[in-house]
Every structure is written in structure tokens, then in C-alpha cells.
Amino acid sequence: MATTGIDGFGSDATLDRKRLYGRVFVGLCFLSTLFGVAALLLLVGDVIYESWGWLDLTFLTHPPSWFPENYVDGRGAGIYPALIGSLFLIVLTAVFTIFLGVGAAIYLEEYAPDTRVTRFIEANIANLAGVPSIVYGLLGLALFVRAAGLGSVLLAGALTLTLLILPIVIVAAQEAVRAVPDSQRRAAYGVGATKWEVTRDVVLPSAMPGIMTGTILALARAIGETAPLIMIGAATTMFAPPRLSPGALFEPFGAMPMQIFEWASQPQAEFQHIAAAGSVVLLTVLLLMNATAIYIRNRYDR
């Protein structure tokens, strides 16, 4: 019988070297992670530092001013019209994308025959998600502002942003619909449900959290977009928020990224701080949206 005993399992040089490689690799992975996190913290820290002393509640509730001294000591100048403009814009965009995105995803996943045409369309929706936002701006300008004759109004802005994020929302919704187990569909068919009932009662409710998460994340991207808004001619500075009436759809509008861009282009040094204060507001809205998406995802994750 061969000798057994702990002596036979001692460490050797080869094993030690392999472990060293492993540790180096982990170290590199950690540094990669650190780089992203550090860059983000630096960015957020810098913006908050720059805005310190310029951001208070009156900043949120007052229209902008051309004079930097009006932004301090609660004298009443701020981002209010652009903040409300952005919220209007994003709510409208959300309504359009949810209907169009969910409709397209349901059709492609549940109804479309698996043909070459369908696959071609699906592949191109994924490609559209990578098209630069300025190109969507040009499209929005040609299609909504000029051809449809809307002008540079809130509706044109919302429709342009809808085009921009629709591919992302469709792909996310398709994935959510595909993730609904077939056993659930069979269960409903088995008790005599029609295809429409299976889709309405089983597929949509199960896919909804995934659809909402994907949509909110896409909207969070849209709310920070500047290039397409510049292309379609959104106002850089608005002194009054959009009215709470259907007529507002056909009136000029402002948005936070446009206002921040405008502040940052001003010659007076103080406006850099005001732009930073606007950025903090924009980032806060963005983080709130992402937090909502994460909350929805966790809540429905079983």
C-alpha cells in the first residue's frame, strides 16, 4: 500500500507560481473596477464642490436670470422652467415609448412569424440603439419640426427623444417578454384561454417589471440628452415653465441640459458655478429615476 499522509501533499513551486498569477489577475480586475468608481466619484464630487453655495431651494423654484448675483442669497433665480420642461418632456416621452415599445416587443415576440423579414427587423432595431443621438436630432428636425410643421415645440422634442430611446426600450421589452416561461403560457392555453387572453393575463403582467425597468433606464438616458434638443431648436433659456394644458404641447420649451449648456457658455466665471448647480439637479433627477428602476426590479424579483 502506498504511503498516505500529509507529507505527500506539500506545496510546490509550480502551485505557488500559479497562485501568484491568480493574485495578479484579481489585482488587475480590482483596479479596473476602481477606475470606473473613482472617475464617477471625482466627477460627482467636483460638480458638488463647484456648486457649493449656489444651490438652494430657491434655485429649484425660480426662473433663470442673466445676472449671476441674482443666484445667491435666496434672491430668486434658478432652474425652475427648465426643470419642469424636462419633466414634461420625459413624461410625454415615457407615454409614447411605453405604448410603442411594448406594442412592438409583444408583436415581435408573440405574434410575428419567424421569417427572414422578422429577423432582419429585429437585427436592425438592435442596430438603431447604437445610432448617435445627433442623428436622431436631425431626423426629428426633418420629420417633426419641418415636415409635420410642428415647429420647435414640446411635442416635437418628446417625439424625437421617443425615436432615440425606442430601440432600447423595444429590445429591453423583448427580453422581458422572452423571459416569461412557456409553461405559464401553456397553463393559460390549457384552460381554454385565447392568444389575446394569454398575452394580456399571463405574458404582460409577468414581463411588466422588466419592461418598466428597461423603460426607466432608457428615459434616464433621454433626460440628459442635449444634442437632439439642440438640433430641433429647443429653447436654451425659458423664463416660464410649460403651461399645464394641452396647448403646451405646441409651445416652445426648455430643458435642463439646454439651460446648463447655456449657463456654461456665459463669459462670467460665476456662471460655471451656476451650471454646476444645474448639473447637480439633473444628476439628482437621474439618480432618482435609476433608483426607481432598481426598486421595481428588486420588488418583483423572486
Partner: protein, 279 residues
């Protein structure tokens, strides 16, 4: 009866279920309710079933047994046209349900599935409350009068009321595997179908839950015609009145009374399979 575009109210008249039946004796009426005539099923170019002809008796348990890939589940799914949901599947031949060919052009598969319910291999309750799970079939079939009563009745008949009767609002997914499967059986029987198809309903369950399901199936045969696929031969021998043995190649090798099939099969291949020489 008619299966053609049956309005929901007419579906009620399809049921022949006696309202109260307590007898455990399920010799049934013995009359043929389902007659399969020369059924071939293809998945694309692959033939899964080859000329299946058999007569399934009313209010009895008919077991379909055979090795994996023999086509027994495919045959089960062709009885309520669930194969229609598979794009590549093609069915040739006739299956008569009370004399009506369910593959006729004027048969609506949705109306057919209201008369022929199904329980699946993996328990698949909806992520809804226990109550809504059982009520779902009743609601889509427009039989949602006296809903509370019907839900309770279905849960009782599925032998799970005693365990869940006081928590109808909790999620069906919070139940154990065996309870989930009995919940799915309650969901299938709630709208009172004539036939219940079961595709290996106990294969994902532990022995205790399996034995509960088996007892339940024997009880169900007093009201329903049950067709069950299983690859557990002891299970087929215990609970079924008739047994059909499918063997590789998608053919039905032997069909007859369960006792005779297990004690004295005609076919040497069936005997080899049953005694465990292959499969």
C-alpha cells in the same frame, strides 16, 4: 355536442359530470369517449407518431407509457390540440371526441381545450393568488357566476382545500411542489371539462406528494375521463384501468386492460419493456 366556435355559455352544456359522485369505484361507463384513428404527427421532417389508433373509455384512467422519445406526450398533446402551438408540428388522421373529429376545420382549438383540460409535468401555477389561479379558467370561459363556491369546490375535489382554504389570497407560488401541482389540478377541473390530460404530473414530486397525486387521480376518474402520461410503470399499474404502451419509433405497440398488459402482454417487446429489459 358541438365544438365549433362554441360561445362560452354553450360550453356549460358539454359537461356530463354528475354533480355529486362519491364512489371510489371508477369502472366508469366504459363507453368510448375519445377515438384516435390513424394519427401521425410530424415535427418538421421528423415523424413522432406513426398511425396511432385507440379508443379511450369514459370516466376511466388511461395510462400512456413508454420510454423517452416514444411519442406518448406528443399523442397526449394532440388530444387537446396543444401541438397547434408548436410551429413545426403537423397532425394527420382523426381524433374523435364523442364522434366529432377535433381536427375538422370548424373546430376552434380554444373551445376544444375548454372540454379537454390539461395538467403539465412541471407545476405551473400563475404568479397570482391561490384563488385567482383556480378562478382563471372559470373567468376566461365566462363561468364566473358563484365564483367563490366553484373555487372552493374545485380545491376540495383536488384534495387541497384543507391545506389552503384559509389562505386563498396568498400566492400560488408559495406552496410546496406537491401542493402547487394539486392547485394546477384544481385549476384544470374548476371549469368542469370532460377529459383531463396529465403529462407526467408527478415526475417532479417527492414520493409522498406523488402518492397524494395518485390517490387524487383515482378519485377524479369518478367524474372525469383521465388520460395520463407516465414513465413510471408502477404508477401506471397502480392507478390506470387501461394502458397503452408506446415504443421507440412513435408506434402504439399494445393497448388494453392494465391488468392484462402487465400480467400477460401479447407482444414480446412490451414484455421486455415492462420487465425492464430495455427502455
Amino acid at each position: 355536442m358541438s365544438l365549433d366556435d362554441t360561445p362560452t355559455t354553450d360550453a356549460e352544456s358539454m359537461t356530463t359530470t354528475p354533480t355529486v359522485t362519491t364512489t371510489d369505484d371508477h369502472s366508469g361507463t366504459g363507453e368510448t369517449i375519445i377515438e384516435s384513428r390513424d394519427i401521425d404527427v410530424y415535427y418538421g421532417d421528423t415523424q413522432a407518431l406513426d398511425g396511432i389508433s385507440m379508443e379511450i373509455p369514459e370516466q376511466q384512467v388511461t395510462a400512456l407509457i413508454g420510454p423517452s422519445g416514444c411519442g406518448k406526450s406528443t399523442f397526449l398533446r394532440s388530444i387537446n390540440r396543444m401541438n397547434d402551438l408548436i410551429d413545426t408540428a403537423r397532425v394527420e388522421g382523426e381524433i374523435l371526441l364523442r364522434g366529432k373529429n377535433i381536427y375538422d376545420d370548424d373546430v376552434d382549438p380554444v373551445a376544444l381545450r375548454r372540454a379537454v383540460g390539461m395538467v403539465f409535468q412541471e407545476p405551473n401555477p400563475f404568479p397570482k393568488s391561490i384563488y385567482d389561479n383556480v378562478a382563471y379558467g372559470l373567468r376566461v370561459q365566462g363561468k364566473d357566476d358563484n365564483l367563490d363556491e366553484k373555487v372552493e369546490d374545485a380545491l376540495r375535489r383536488a384534495a387541497i382545500w384543507d391545506e389552503v382554504g384559509d389562505q386563498l389570497d396568498s400566492s400560488g407560488l408559495d406552496l410546496s411542489g406537491g401542493q402547487q401541482q394539486r392547485l394546477c389540478i384544481a385549476r384544470a377541473i374548476a371549469p368542469d371539462p370532460e377529459v383531463i390530460l396529465m403529462d407526467e404530473p408527478a415526475s417532479a414530486l417527492d414520493p409522498v406528494a406523488t402518492s397524494q397525486i395518485e390517490d387524487l387521480i383515482e378519485d377524479l376518474a369518478s367524474e372525469f375521463t383521465v388520460v395520463i402520461v407516465t414513465h413510471n410503470m408502477q404508477q401506471a399499474a397502480r392507478i390506470s384501468d387501461k394502458t397503452a404502451v408506446f415504443l421507440t419509433g412513435g408506434e402504439l405497440v399494445e393497448f388494453g386492460d392494465t391488468n392484462r398488459i402487465f400480467e400477460n402482454p401479447n407482444s414480446q417487446r412490451v414484455e421486455d419493456y415492462i420487465t425492464g429489459k430495455f427502455g
